[in-house]
C-alpha cells in the first residue's frame, strides 16, 4: 500500500512512505510537520495550501505527493533565512496584510512567484494574480499594498 517517496523540501532531501493517493499537502503537513500549508476549500480554489514547486506557485491540495518527486518544493517555513524574514513576509507584517492569517502563507508564496517574474506589477496584475487566493478578513487592499511594497523593496535590493 505504502510507497517510498523522496521529496526535496526547503532544500533538504526528505524520505517518507505514502499511500499513492496522498496529496502533497497531507505529505507536507502530516508526514513532515510543515503545517504552514493550510487546507481551506478542498476544491482547488482558496489557495491556502499554496507552495512553490520549482519556484512556481501550485496548490498542494491538487497534486499527489508522488507527482512532486524530483521537484524542489518550497514551503512558507523556509522563506525566512537565518531568522530574517523574507521581504514579502516583512511587508505583510508592516503593511497589515493579514488578519486571521490562515490564508497568509499561501498569499505570500503566490506573491513570491508573481514578483519573481514581474518585479513591478500593477495593482490590477496583483489582484488578478490573487484570483486563486481567498481572503475573507482584509478586503484585500492591504494585501495588494504589501505585495506592491515588497516588490519595490526587492527591486531596490537587487540594485536598479
Amino acid at each position: 500500500m505504502l510507497e517510498p517517496l523522496q521529496l526535496v523540501v526547503n532544500g533538504e532531501r526528505r524520505s517518507l512512505d505514502v499511500e499513492p493517493r496522498t496529496l502533497l499537502v497531507h505529505a507536507l503537513r502530516d508526514g513532515l510537520g510543515l503545517t504552514g500549508a493550510h487546507i481551506g476549500c478542498d476544491t482547488s480554489q482558496c489557495g491556502a495550501c499554496t507552495v512553490l514547486l520549482d519556484g512556481r506557485a501550485v496548490k498542494s491540495c491538487t497534486l499527489l505527493a508522488l507527482q512532486a518527486e524530483g521537484a524542489e518544493i518550497t514551503t512558507i517555513e523556509s522563506l525566512a533565512s537565518d531568522g530574517e524574514m523574507h521581504p514579502i513576509q516583512r511587508s505583510f507584517v508592516e503593511n497589515h496584510g493579514l488578519q486571521c492569517g490562515f490564508c497568509t502563507p499561501g498569499l505570500i508564496l503566490t506573491a513570491t512567484d508573481l514578483l519573481s517574474r514581474d518585479p513591478d506589477p500593477s495593482d490590477d496584475t496583483i489582484r488578478h494574480s490573487l484570483r486563486g487566493n481567498f481572503c475573507r478578513c482584509t478586503g484585500y487592499e492591504t494585501i495588494v499594498e504589501s505585495i506592491r511594497a515588497a516588490g519595490a523593496e526587492m527591486r531596490g535590493s537587487v540594485g536598479r
Binding site: 499511500e19 493517493r21 496522498t22 497531507h26 503537513r29 510537520g33 510543515l34 503545517t35 504552514g36 500549508a37 493550510h38 487546507i39 481551506g40 476549500c41 478542498d42 476544491t43 480554489q45 482558496c46 491556502a48 514551503t75 512558507i76 517555513e77 522563506l79 525566512a80 524574514m85 513576509q89 516583512r90 505583510f92 507584517v93 508592516e94 497589515h96 493579514l98 488578519q99 486571521c100 492569517g101 490562515f102 490564508c103 497568509t104 502563507p105 505570500i108 490590477d124 496583483i126 489582484r127 488578478h128 490573487l130 484570483r131 487566493n133 481567498f134 481572503c135 475573507r136 478578513c137 482584509t138 478586503g139 484585500y140 487592499e141 492591504t142 494585501i143 495588494v144
Partner: protein
C-alpha cells in the same frame, strides 16, 4: 499613564508567526495516538432514521468505530446541536450529521464514511419560508424536546424581545417566535405622510466562509478531564455547552481555544460536541476537521429573510412612520433566531414618530441558523436604506441630507424605549458627505452610479476579567480568555501599556484556557475591546498601583507624586529621581523579596451600550447587456470611538465592507425544492476575490465612548451593515432600477433591467 502609544498604527502582535507559518491553528497540533473522525451527513432534509449500517465501514482497514447517536454518552434528550450532535430519531436538514466514522487516518475515516448505509424514511420537507408560517403547513420538526433556553443570542447583541401583545394571529407551529415592537400609531403616521414608499426585500442564507474549516481535537487527561482544543469564539461558552451535553461537571471540561482562521460568528460549540462525544465513547484522542463540503452543509450560516417594509416622510424630510413584517428563517434552530435583533435594527440610526414592526422566527428544514457578523443587521439595512433613498428621491432631498435630518443623537429614545447612549451618527454622515466621491455623482458616465447607505450595530456587553503580570525583565504579560478574532490582543497590549506606563512592545498578550484563565464571554457582538479591554485597563492600573507603592518606598516619594513612563517610575516634575520597573520587579520576585508581585487583576461590567455607525459610498458600473455590476470604488466612514490602532481599525472597516460586497453581489446558499443544498462548495458559492473588490477608502471618525478603554469600543460588526444597500443604491442610481433581492447577480440584474417596472410587490 501615557496615551502616546494610543492611535499609532502598529503591526499585529501575532503577525510574525502568521507570515512565517509558525502559528498553530486548530488542525496543526500533534497529538499522540490521534484518531480522525469523518461525518456521515443526511442526504434528506426531513426524515426519520430507520437504521444506520456501519458493518461495511468497520471492515475498512484502519476504521476503529462507527458511531451513531446511541453511542455518544449524551446526558440530555434536547434536540439542539450540542445536546444532539448526531441525529437521534429525526433528521431535520440535509447535511445534519447522522453518524461518525473514527479511524487511524483521515483517509481511512473517509473510506469508511463513504460506505456507511443510512436508511431514511422521508418526511415532507419544509423549505418555503412563507408557506411554513401558514396554519396547516407541514412541520419542520416532529420530535421536539427543547430544554432550558440556550443563551447564545445574548452573545451577539444586547436586545430585548419587544412587548407581548394581545393581537392574535393564526400561525403555524413552525413560527417559533413572534416579536412585536410598537410605539405610537404607525399606520396613522403613514397615512398623514406626504410621501410613503414600500417594498418587499429578500436576502438569502449567507455563509460565514471563514477560510479555516471548523475543527476540534479532544482527548482525556489521566484525571479524566476532557480537553477540547478547538477553534471557537468562546472557550467558556464551549465548556458550558459541553458540560451540559454530556452531563459533566464544569471542572471536568477544559477548553483550549486555538488561533481562529476566521469565524465571523460561526464557530461556537457546534463541532466540539462531535469530537468530544467520540473521545468520551472511545477513550481516545479524536480530531474532527470538517471538509469544506461538510462545513457548507453541516454548520450554521446566516438566516434568509423576507422584509415587507413601509416608511413615510413629511415634505421637509422628517421621517414619520415605519411599519414592517420581517420573516426570519431559523432553519432548525429552536434555541434562538435573529428576529429579535433584526426587528430592533430595522429603524436604523434614525428617529421615527411611530413604529410597528413584527418579526417572526420560523423553522424550516434548512441548516441550523447561526450568527454571521452583525446578525440581522445587513438584511434590515438593505430594506430600510433602499427605501430611504426612494423617499429622498421623491422629496427631491439629497440622500445624505435626509438621513442627517433624522439621525439620532445621544438621549433620543430608541426602539426599545431607552435613550441612546453616545452615538456618532451625525458625525459619520457629515464626514462621508465631504468625500469627493459624493460630489462626483452628478457627472458620471452612462451606466455608472454612486450610492450611499448607513448602518449601525448596537454593541454588546458582558462582564469580563483580565490579569497583568510584570516580570523581572520589565515586560508585561496580559492574560485574558478572550479569543482574538480581529486583532483585539494587539489593542490589549496598547491599552495595558498606556494604563501602566510601558512601551507596547514590552507587552505580551497570552490567551488562557478555561482551566487557567480569568473569565471572558465569547468574542462576538463587537464587545471585546469595550468590555475585556476595559478589564485589561483595570488590571494594568492595578499592577501600576503595586509598582507605585514599591517605588514610593524605594524613592521615598508619595505614590501620588510618581508617574510611570516607558517602564520608568519617576517623580512628577523631577524625572531624574527615578527607578525602572525592571528594578522594582527584581526586588519583588525573589526569595526574601520586599514587595508584592507587580500584578493586577481587573474586571469590567459595562452597562451602557456603545453603538457604532458606519456609512458607505459605492461607485459602480453596470453592464446593461450582461447584468454585470462592477465595483469601481468604495468609501466607508465609521465612528470607532477611539482608534487604539488605526491600521487594525481600517482592517475591520475594509474587511466588513468587503463582506458586504459579498452580500450585495455574490453570496447565496441555495437549496432545491427538496431542501438539498445546491451551493455546497466554493465552485458554486462565490465570495469576493481580489479582482472583484475595489479600493476602499476609510474615514475614521472618533466620538469617544465614555465607558470604553480610552474611549474605544467594539467596531467589528458595524462596517458590514450598510455596504450592500450602498451598492444597491448605486445600481439604482446607475440604471434607474431598484433591485429588491440579494445578491445582485448578473442574471438577476439583467432580468430586472429587462422588466424595468419598479417595485412589483404589494404593500405590507
Amino acid at each position: 499613564m501615557s496615551e502616546a502609544h494610543i492611535g499609532v498604527a502598529r503591526p499585529r502582535i501575532d503577525a510574525p508567526d502568521k507570515v512565517t507559518g509558525a502559528t498553530k491553528f486548530g488542525a496543526d497540533g500533534y497529538v499522540h495516538g490521534l484518531l480522525h473522525a469523518r461525518l456521515v451527513l443526511s442526504t434528506e432534509a426531513h426524515a426519520r432514521i430507520r437504521a444506520i449500517h456501519g458493518d461495511d465501514a468497520l471492515s475498512v482497514p484502519g476504521v476503529v468505530a462507527v458511531l451513531t447517536a446511541a453511542d455518544l454518552p449524551t446526558a440530555t434528550t434536547g434536540t439542539d446541536r450540542a445536546a444532539e450532535p448526531l441525529a437521534r430519531e429525526e433528521v431535520v436538514f440535509a447535511g445534519q450529521p447522522v453518524a461518525m466514522v473514527v479511524a487511524e487516518t483521515e483517509a481511512a475515516a473517509e473510506d469508511g464514511a463513504e460506505v456507511v448505509m443510512v436508511e431514511l424514511e422521508t418526511l415532507p420537507p419544509v423549505v418555503d419560508l412563507e408557506d411554513a408560517m401558514r396554519p396547516g403547513s407541514a412541520l419542520a420538526r416532529l420530535v421536539e424536546k427543547a430544554e432550558g433556553g440556550s443563551d447564545l443570542e445574548s452573545i451577539h447583541a444586547g436586545v430585548d424581545h419587544g412587548q407581548e401583545d394581545a393581537e392574535q394571529e393564526q400561525l403555524s407551529a413552525n413560527v417559533l417566535d413572534r416579536v412585536q415592537r410598537k410605539n405610537g400609531d404607525a399606520a396613522a403616521a403613514l397615512d398623514a405622510s406626504e410621501v410613503v414608499v414600500f417594498g418587499t426585500f429578500r436576502t438569502p442564507w449567507v455563509y460565514q466562509a471563514y477560510l479555516e474549516p471548523q475543527v476540534a481535537t479532544t482527548w482525556l487527561e489521566p484525571s479524566g478531564t476532557l480537553v477540547v482544543s478547538t477553534g471557537t469564539q468562546g472557550s467558556f461558552v464551549s465548556r458550558k455547552e459541553l458540560a451540559r451535553a454530556f452531563g459533566l461537571p464544569l471542572d471536568r471540561v477544559r477548553v483550549v481555544a486555538e488561533p481562529l482562521g476566521g469565524s465571523f460568528g460561526g464557530k461556537l460549540a457546534l463541532i466540539e460536541p462531535l469530537a468530544a462525544g467520540a473521545t468520551l465513547a472511545l477513550r481516545r484522542p479524536v480530531r474532527l476537521v470538517l471538509t469544506r463540503g461538510e462545513d457548507f452543509l453541516a454548520t450554521n450560516p446566516a438566516s434568509a429573510q423576507v422584509t415587507h417594509l413601509r416608511v413615510g416622510a413629511r415634505k421637509d424630510g422628517t421621517f414619520t412612520g415605519i411599519e414592517a413584517r420581517m420573516l426570519v428563517d431559523r432553519g432548525t434552530n429552536a434555541g434562538w433566531g435573529v428576529e429579535g435583533i433584526t426587528s430592533s435594527l430595522l429603524v436604523g440610526p434614525y428617529r421615527w414618530e411611530a413604529h410597528d414592526i413584527v418579526g417572526y422566527g420560523i423553522q424550516t428544514n434548512r441548516f441550523t441558523f447561526g450568527a454571521y457578523r452583525a446578525p440581522g443587521a445587513p438584511t434590515a439595512a438593505f430594506a430600510l436604506e433602499s427605501l430611504l433613498d426612494e423617499l429622498a428621491e421623491k422629496l427631491g432631498i439629497d440622500p445624505i441630507e435626509i438621513r442627517l435630518r433624522n439621525a439620532v443623537v445621544e438621549g433620543d429614545i430608541g426602539i426599545s424605549g431607552n435613550a441612546y447612549p453616545t452615538i456618532g451618527a451625525v458625525e459619520v454622515l457629515e464626514r462621508i458627505r465631504e468625500h469627493p466621491l459624493w460630489s462626483a455623482r452628478a457627472s458620471l458616465p452612462e451606466n455608472e452610479g454612486i450610492g450611499f447607505a448607513a448602518g449601525y450595530w448596537p454593541g454588546g456587553n458582558e462582564p469580563a476579567a483580565a490579569i497583568c503580570r510584570v516580570d523581572t525583565d520589565g515586560t508585561m504579560t496580559v492574560v485574558t480568555s478572550s479569543v482574538d478574532m480581529s486583532g483585539v490582543d494587539t489593542g490589549f497590549a496598547v491599552i495595558a501599556a498606556a494604563a501602566f506606563g510601558l512601551d507596547p512592545n514590552k507587552v505580551r498578550v497570552v490567551f488562557a484556557d478555561t482551566a487557567t484563565g480569568p473569565y471572558s464571554g465569547a468574542s462576538g457582538g463587537s464587545k471585546v475591546t469595550y468590555t475585556v479591554g476595559k478589564a485589561v485597563e483595570g488590571a494594568a492600573r492595578a499592577a501600576r498601583v503595586k509598582v507605585l507603592a514599591a517605588a514610593s518606598q524605594e524613592l521615598e516619594i508619595a505614590p501620588d507624586d510618581l508617574e510611570v513612563v516607558d517602564g520608568v517610575v519617576r517623580a512628577i516634575g523631577a524625572p531624574d529621581r527615578s527607578i525602572t520597573v525592571e528594578e522594582i520587579v527584581g526586588k519583588a520576585l525573589r526569595y526574601g523579596g520586599r514587595y508584592e508581585p507587580i500584578e493586577g487583576h481587573g474586571g469590567s461590567a459595562q452597562t451602557r451600550g456603545a453603538p457604532s455607525v458606519a456609512a458607505h459610498l459605492s461607485h459602480v458600473r453596470v453592464d446593461r447587456d450582461t447584468g454585470e455590476v462592477e465595483l469601481l470604488r468604495h468609501v466607508i466612514a465609521q465612528d470607532v470611538g477611539r482608534a487604539l490602532n488605526p491600521a487594525l481599525v481600517e482592517g475591520q472597516m475594509r474587511g466588513g465592507a468587503a463582506q458586504g460586497m459579498g452580500w450585495a453581489l455574490f453570496e447565496r446558499l441555495d437549496h432545491d425544492e427538496d431542501g438539498r443544498l445546491l451551493t455546497g462548495s466554493f465552485l458554486d458559492y462565490a465570495i469576493p476575490v481580489a479582482e472583484r473588490v475595489p479600493e476602499i477608502d476609510t474615514l475614521i471618525v472618533e466620538v469617544p465612548a465614555p465607558d470604553g478603554p480610552f474611549g474605544a469600543k467594539g467596531i467589528g460588526e458595524a462596517p458590514v451593515v450598510g455596504a450592500a444597500p450602498a451598492i444597491s443604491n448605486a445600481v439604482a442610481a446607475a440604471t434607474g432600477v431598484r433591485i429588491h433581492e440579494l445578491p445582485m447577480t448578473p442574471p438577476r440584474v439583467w432580468q430586472a433591467l429587462r422588466q424595468d417596472s419598479g417595485p412589483t410587490e404589494t404593500p405590507a
